[in-house]
Subunit: 418 residues, 2 copies
């Protein structure tokens, strides 16, 4: 599919994240405007609340866009999702007769504050990248037992904490927790010393269900994707995770990018999962290409310094697609809701510069990284900023996700109470 030209000229640039082919959904505010739905086009945002109030976009009887989340649009289902995308494409295309109506409703992204684009119903994080699971397993259990026996048969996941999902740009306070060093008999309550990032994609469930879904039904239920950084306290996790899995180690924060890139926008970039080492059971079998070819990077900048790229990887490295994850999630009859967020798991490629976490990049802290600034890192230091970015590369355009950034604050920063 070629670039669709827009009368918003910045949307026709080969290096914008937001050409007309993308049309990602976010929530913004300005000094004058309360938080409401917006669509990114080039370096501008279309105020969807105003477009709806003026009757230019008129999909349903009830208002959908003068709200600080996209959940109500998702609730309308795929026919309305498609109708909205078609209407926006027509309004913003070069030669649109409605340009004079829309032009007054655009404002520069640079003038807006971006908020969470959805109300997250529940958050689930998976462990579905094979290189990541192999790296972590090798570190903790040795190369012979790197992958748990179940790993090639199902996308391993755990329930995370929706209340801790925050939008890009939110500062992240280093967590306190119980740490137990091997040379002490008892734990101590201290700030985490091994606080880490995880480069992931998040899939957003757009249709509710209350019974097992096929992989095809699951793919149809996904509304869109975001970048996701699942901040992780490795030392808290090491002490707490047996036998019931990660809990407080993963509960400080999970950052997501502010723009939901729809499944429709990513459709030209569908790609298959890797070859299967063992056949999947029928309910999880691939029925078509359900991963996406999305280049991903993570960069780290100490305060006031230029960022160093830590990793370059691609979403196609996942062993399981989000559709397979959602199908597995529903096997037990677990009700899934609009706004459920599924983290892919850390996305690492096969080589060292493709690793998606500092745990892997510094091999458990044994092999410090040297940044471009000359600083070294094993895990994150206070006031480091981590920035994820990603895009699918089309012919002369790209479908970008913007960035997902977070800065680490001291464990003693407010609101620390006790």
């Amino acid at each position: 599919m070629p670039l669709i030209h827009s009368w918003v000229t910045s949307a026709n640039s080969a290096d914008t994240d937001f050409p007309l082919n993308n049309l990602p959904y976010g929530v913004f505010s300005t000094d004058q405007l309360d938080p409401r739905c917006g669509v990114a086009i080039g370096d501008m945002i279309l105020d969807m609340g105003q477009a709806e109030a003026q009757g230019i976009i008129d999909l349903t009887d009830e208002p959908l866009f003068e709200l600080p989340f996209w959940n109500d649009l998702m609730e309308q289902g795929p026919a309305v999702w498609t109708a909205l995308r078609n209407r926006l494409t027509a309004l913003l295309s070069k030669g649109s007769k409605d340009q004079h109506l829309i032009e007054p409703l655009l404002l520069p992204v640079a003038d807006a504050t971006l908020h969470m684009p959805l109300v997250v119903s529940e958050f689930t994080d998976f462990y579905a990248g094979r290189h990541h699971a192999t790296n972590v397993g090798t570190m903790f259990r040795g190369p012979e037992n790197a992958l748990p026996p179940n790993w090639l048969h199902m996308p391993i996941g755990y329930n995370g904490r929706a209340s801790s999902v925050v939008v890009s740009g939110t500062d992240i306070r280093r967590p306190w927790g119980q740490l137990k060093s091997p040379d002490h008999d008892t734990p101590a309550f201290l700030p985490s010393r091994r606080f880490d990032m995880e480069l992931e994609m998040g899939a957003i469930v757009g249709m509710a269900s209350d019974g097992p879904l096929t992989v095809d039904q699951a793919d149809a239920a996904i509304f869109g994707y975001v970048l996701l950084n699942d901040w992780s306290a490795r030392d808290i996790q090491a002490w707490e995770y047996q036998p019931l899995g990660p809990f407080q180690a993963k509960a400080t924060a999970t950052s997501i990018s502010p723009w939901i890139v729809t499944k429709a926008a990513l459709d030209p970039f569908r790609t298959s999962t890797p070859e299967r080492e063992v056949p999947l059971l029928d309910h999880l079998k691939d029925t078509g290409p359900m991963l996406y070819d999305i280049d991903l990077t993570a960069a780290l900048a100490p305060e006031g310094q230029t960022p160093t790229t830590l990793t370059r990887t691609n979403y196609r490295e996942m062993y399981y697609s989000a559709a397979q994850q959602l199908a597995h999630h529903s096997t037990s009859g677990c009700p899934m809701n609009v706004g459920d967020l599924l983290g892919s798991g850390t996305i690492s490629g096969p080589t060292k510069p493709e690793r998606g976490s500092l745990l892997e990049l510094s091999w458990g802290g044994k092999d410090p990284l040297t940044l471009d600034t000359g600083d070294t890192r094993t895990f994150l230091e206070d006031r480091d900023t981590v920035t994820l970015s990603g895009h699918a590369q089309g012919d002369g355009y790209r479908i970008g996700f913007g960035t997902c950034a977070g800065r680490i604050m001291s464990a003693h920063a407010t609101p620390y109470r006790p």
Copy 2:
């Protein structure tokens, strides 16, 4: 504290669960009335929506009770919680001058349908009963390694699935999942064969927070308690739980009793946690009695048969209080919200008839139980009904929880789709 006499005569009986000292909060409907808040008193329900509409209960400017959940009342905070309890006690006390106003707003519990009493924000399940953890650990890892090394230092927990929490009386469909038997190389997708119940209490968070809470702050933030049955597929769990903990094994359903018994009602029954084998770290130290002396039973009835009591235990058997669980839950800075539900973990006492799950009662299925009907059970069969009940025994009255019941339906029952 003695019985407070009510002009609702059924509330003065020594064996009602709902004397005036209790005043538990639920949501009910009838053929004529949409779901709304109600308070149980003896064998009657007070229609709180009507009481508010008529101005008899008038705590805030915004309506709180013509809603199908108690979250909005909880949001008002402890001063309003206390004001409501005081007002209800005055209205329903023997000799109240307002009896003629309230009498028309009472209807028999028997004529009402009970619904979920709250919107569950997120659900966390703990593993904080020592006898249960010791029993399970002994089965899986042997008596020397029964308790994981972290267990005596923190309340181990994992995030569950709020979407699967249902009210007592909801049928529970036996889940499908990946099962892997030791004599097969690969798993199969089948209905669970080891589907179990877990006798627990649930604590409901009534105040939001966004940083670490002390144990005292956590206790103050708890609004009330319910009975909770965390249905568990032991065979799904055995295959899936390494390394990230239980996921689909616990996602089919969690049942709760329909009446929230407030912390205020339980206050006379506070009791201390057991003696500590190792000292807790300061942030988890007991600061007062925060468990409750609540007698608990679980019974099992095959379809059409009389129930057999499976277990008799008490909430005071927990090693950690709900306040300690909530304090631990917040250590990492995890934001907690009104409506968060914390499962205690299975409550087993020290002897066999006090065990709170079939896994323990049948010792992993090796030692079948014989029911009073002559049937035997290792795990649950289709159309078995499990009923939990519980009460704190006062002098001449009791603070009861009603029951928490669920019937097992076939794995092939609707809505099974694939």
